[in-house]
Subunit: 262 residues, 2 copies
């Protein structure tokens, strides 16, 4: 399966989750180099979820990151299996990471499995699919996104913290930062789905409105959604108050997530 | 997702992999009770693979264990997501197992991830799907099954061994036993697909022949396939020579796998 596997993983994604992992590790101002395995594991989990989400039975998206989706480039069976294999590979990578203690690995695997499973990403995607053509309150929409995308973003920060032997207080601050940027990320996604340039986005635009999915723009209006993104950015930055300059990369990332055009 | 999750996991399967795990642990004659988490994890990985294999894009099977397949009882999106979630849950269960050391957990997760991923179950299923309408030699068929079903069977024994702190020599003996019963399991599956009773089997029979898939029966004939199953059973029993009565459960299981009617 090496050809479809390469196709799926060499795709010019934004690498938000690996970047958050390294930025969280960096915030501890630890001098040893961070193990790269958890960063790759996070990106593999994210990539597998995109492959499965693009399937005709799910979001039915023909384009991903400016190229045909995996099931269009190959076929559905290949897309299902590559997704399944990438998930297994993510956990294998952490189990096999050279620089981490067994205790760090077990803790990371637990966090990553919970964030990507029924109580996290998979559960959120399930709610999202059921929600087509249904009315959601702002609270329900937020809860869905906290599972669907927020959980893995928070896990990225937790893994970076665990790699750097963060204290429980530091992990809690990272988590609060992550909760806010996770929500901001989705608000901006909804804004881009309305005003983004399909060329820059690399995916089909106007997709959510067409599928009659609940979005922040629908619930808050375009200006309201933009104000909400700014509020979440402010909260995220405030959560990092106990960190000094070592957390500047996290602060930059929060600003990038809210200011991005794709 | 609790209703489809329950539907998928309360299904009267044969529980071969959990049983192998406990039997392997038992062969070490350890007196402490074996942790049940790895047994459940093995069954969840197996269950997720059946759910995905049954999908229309894969083997397209409407019945499983005497009930409608998950995508027939619910829908395809639910089946994809439940499979994804069960895989994550399997790794979470091991990471969270109360009776195991961090080192045991990491080793088990690595074995399980490799056995279920591209070099194991998922890779074997990919070869299997590509093989429809193609000619396979006996050697290729065997290699495919060693990945598709054999890898997880061997992992079941390895996990039981790791749980009981088996020596490397004991783990190697368990693996040799597993290699043989894994192959025997598939040979018997192919025989049952031809002569089995669909009522007892709980799944569509004659499916492989209809899909024009390579099988042991096609390559060896019915009598040849039965002789091969017996030969593999003998090899499996011989691999357990260094164990005493403590391995009787493994010996029984090998006989059951070859003699079963479903």
């Amino acid at each position: 399966m090496s050809a479809p596997g390469r196709y799926a993983t060499s795709n010019g994604g934004k690498q938000v989750r690996p970047t958050l992992y390294f930025a969280a590790w960096n915030a501890m101002a630890d001098s040893s180099p961070a193990d790269t395995a958890p960063a790759l594991a996070l990106e593999l989990i994210h990539t597998y979820s995109l492959i499965h989400d693009d399937l005709p039975a799910m979001d039915d998206d023909d384009m991903r990151r400016g190229k045909p989706s995996l099931h269009k480039a190959y076929d559905e069976a290949t897309a299902i299996l590559v997704g399944d294999g990438l998930q297994a590979r993510a956990f294998e990578l952490i189990a096999d990471a050279p620089e981490l203690s067994a205790e760090q690995k077990v803790r990371m695997i637990k966090v990553l499995a919970q964030a990507s499973g029924f109580e996290g990403m998979v559960g959120g995607q399930y709610i999202d699919i059921q929600a087509v053509d249904s009315d959601m309150t702002l609270e329900e929409l937020r809860a869905m996104h906290e599972m669907k995308t927020g959980a893995l973003i928070r896990a990225s920060l937790a893994l970076g913290g665990i790699a750097a032997n963060a204290t429980e207080a530091q992990l809690a601050a990272l988590d609060e930062y992550g909760r806010n940027i996770g929500l901001a990320f989705q608000v901006v996604d909804d804004i881009l789905d309305v005003e983004g340039d399909p060329e820059t986005l690399g995916k089909t635009q106007g997709k959510d409105a067409e599928a009659n999915k609940p979005t922040y723009v629908k619930l808050l209006g375009l200006d309201g959604a933009k104000a909400e993104a700014q509020r979440l950015l402010d909260e995220a930055i405030a959560a990092l108050d106990s960190f000094g300059e070592s957390a500047d990369m996290l602060r930059e990332l929060a600003r990038y997530i809210v200011g991005r055009d794709r």
